[in-house]
Symmetry: C2
Subunit: 342 residues, 2 copies
DNA sequence: ATTATGTGGGACATAAATTGTCCCGGCAAG
DNA sequence: CTTGCCGGGACAATTTATGTCCCACATAAT
């Protein structure tokens, strides 16, 4: 059973924000015993008018009294703060964690959904929904969106809905086909996303594991070259993060290469590159599409990955330092946090 | 410990309304398996535009899917409905009860606060706050407000705060002084309310238990006569409801009279009148001020009373049939409900 | 094949609320 | 007394919510 709070949040997403805001104000008033509006503005970071409306509300609720000297908490208010404390704590557990991880890796935003994708398909679905929501929020008109493959990205595609914010966007696969389950290929996912949002898509029909020769000759194909140009002009990349060895096996990489990966301690894979635990790119899957230098200058790089088992891989990719937004779940976030504060 | 929900409601009063609205829509969609917007408007009673915004929201949340055929619930939505059901039930326990009692006695509105005023001073305080909120909502400019005495009304006065809706109002005691604790007299409460709202007040300095002679001569005093005229022009009456015998004793009524009250089965007292369980006025406290015929044609009569022990008295007064709004608590409401559906 | 009915969604004027800003009179402390 | 902070009134600007109408499309009955 999920926590009541999480259920409520699904029907009222800014519940957390509102409760937190009002609790913080009330708490601050309690600590200061008596405090003026201007000082409260300082310590809460709210604008004056907003703070004022909130104080008026708290007054209506009989939680504070306002007198000439300032604002004072009432017994009922004090009681509420005490009763609210554990609720706020559990309520904000994830928000705090988001902020911690965001700061630790210098990201623009971190979104954590409750649960563990490893054990609950619902959580994985939620992860997809959250990823879709992030995409919906950051996308601008005419943006090219490059998407990677994988089951998590498939969930993101599933979570997308048509929305007026998607206007004249183009969905493209970030790199060549991944030779795995067709449903999880970047091509399929790009087309699914385009279909759901009412946008256009282009497909990159290039196999994985290109030989040097094949790579060169393919790169020179005019139609492929043109599409790769489009892909490199992407404003947004959204990708999953995989366990390197698992991915390599799934792609039928030679056992010798896999052994090498293991020996080198490579844990993570994302958009066709393998990352060492220190965040260095140690190897890549030879194919066409987005290159590392493209990633580094793309406006918004969104990583979506959850589940306790992915925590180390996520850290590896985050250390690489070119992610902007991370969407993950509670289980992974907990473990990431433990790595940060051992 | 109060329920989490009740605590949250104090910081976000329309939590119930929003959750209920969205749950109802989702529930309806689930029941209909697929349903159009217009039909949903019918069955929910919302306006089309509002319903549409809500559906868009539910879609964003991934709880419903909308297709050409209509709106359909998703697995996540179905899961949410199931998990939400017990929450909604406890959430709406009081709202449903409010509606039941409202209908049973043909009232304009019923407000129930959680708890039992008999055992918890906090609940009594909440009752006062709720009463104050109701008063604040129904009052219009220039209205004369007649208030009765009693500890509950004292809480209402305490719950009042200055607010722009109080403009040029006049607070007056409903009837002559009650010869009890001065803090609980109608005079004190009227003046307290006026002070808190920044309005005027007038006091009626008339003792209780007037002899016939004294009553007649007092009634003819010009200044008293004039004030009584004002009192009778009140647009709003707000009063508590008391246990008849307890009230009589507190007022030092002769033990013979008390015995009579008991013999007659009189349970309730309100604004100076005693009520039989059938809702008939069987006796009154001889003093000046509002008379029964005044009550019957006053715009808004607000009764505020809580605690399990008051349930029978509340029923008696409600049966009298001239109340408009009842503010009570969970304990009293439960017992009232039991009387109604034995 | 052709209506008729119901669907979702676009568009837009209007109403309502939130918010940013300024200022005023009061009151307490210096 | 004066100075500084207090709450709160006022109001314009802005955002959000709402009411209304209409359209293209799908389905089902005719």
């Amino acid at each position: 059973m999920r926590r009541i709070i999480d259920i409520q949040k699904q029907l009222l997403p800014d519940l957390t924000y509102i409760l937190d805001k009002r609790y913080k104000i009330l708490h601050q008033i309690m600590l200061s015993s008596i405090i003026g509006r201007r000082s409260l503005v300082q310590s809460t970071g709210l604008t004056e008018r907003v703070l004022r409306s909130e104080v008026e509300f708290l007054k209506e609720q009989g939680l504070v009294e306002v007198e000439a000297m300032g604002i004072r908490i009432t017994p009922a208010g004090r009681r509420l703060v005490e009763e609210m404390e554990p609720i706020i704590k559990s309520l904000l557990g994830l928000s705090e964690m988001e902020e911690l991880i965001r700061k630790a890796f210098n990201l623009k935003q971190v979104v954590i959904v409750p649960g563990d994708s490893d054990t609950s398909p619902f959580t994985k679905q939620e992860l997809g929904r959250a990823g879709a929501a992030v995409l919906r929020r950051v996308v601008n008109r005419d943006d090219v969106v490059a998407v990677a493959g994988g089951s998590t990205l498939a969930e993101v595609a599933d979570g997308l809905t048509s929305s007026p914010v998607f206007k004249d966007n183009l969905f493209v696969p970030a790199r060549g086909g991944l030779g795995e389950d067709v449903e999880l290929q970047a091509n399929s996912i790009a087309s699914e996303m385009a279909k759901r949002t009412g946008c256009q898509y282009r497909l990159l029909h290039v196999p994985d594991h290109l030989s040097e020769d094949a790579y060169v000759s393919l790169s020179q194909e005019p139609n492929i070259q043109e599409l790769v140009e489009v892909i490199r002009s992407a404003k947004i990349v959204i990708h999953g993060i995989g366990n390197a060895v698992v991915m390599a096996k799934r792609r039928g990489v030679s056992s010798r290469t896999i052994a090498e990966l293991q020996r080198e301690g490579v844990l993570a894979e994302a958009f066709g590159y393998y990352f060492s635990p220190e965040g260095k790119v140690v190897r890549n899957i030879p194919t066409v599409g987005l290159r590392l230098e493209d990633i580094e200058q793309i406006d918004t790089v969104i990583g979506v990955a959850g589940g306790q088992s992915k925590a180390q891989a996520i850290i590896s990719v985050l250390r690489y330092g070119h992610e902007d937004i991370l969407v993950t779940d509670e289980a992974a976030a907990d473990k990431i946090y433990q790595f940060l504060n051992p």
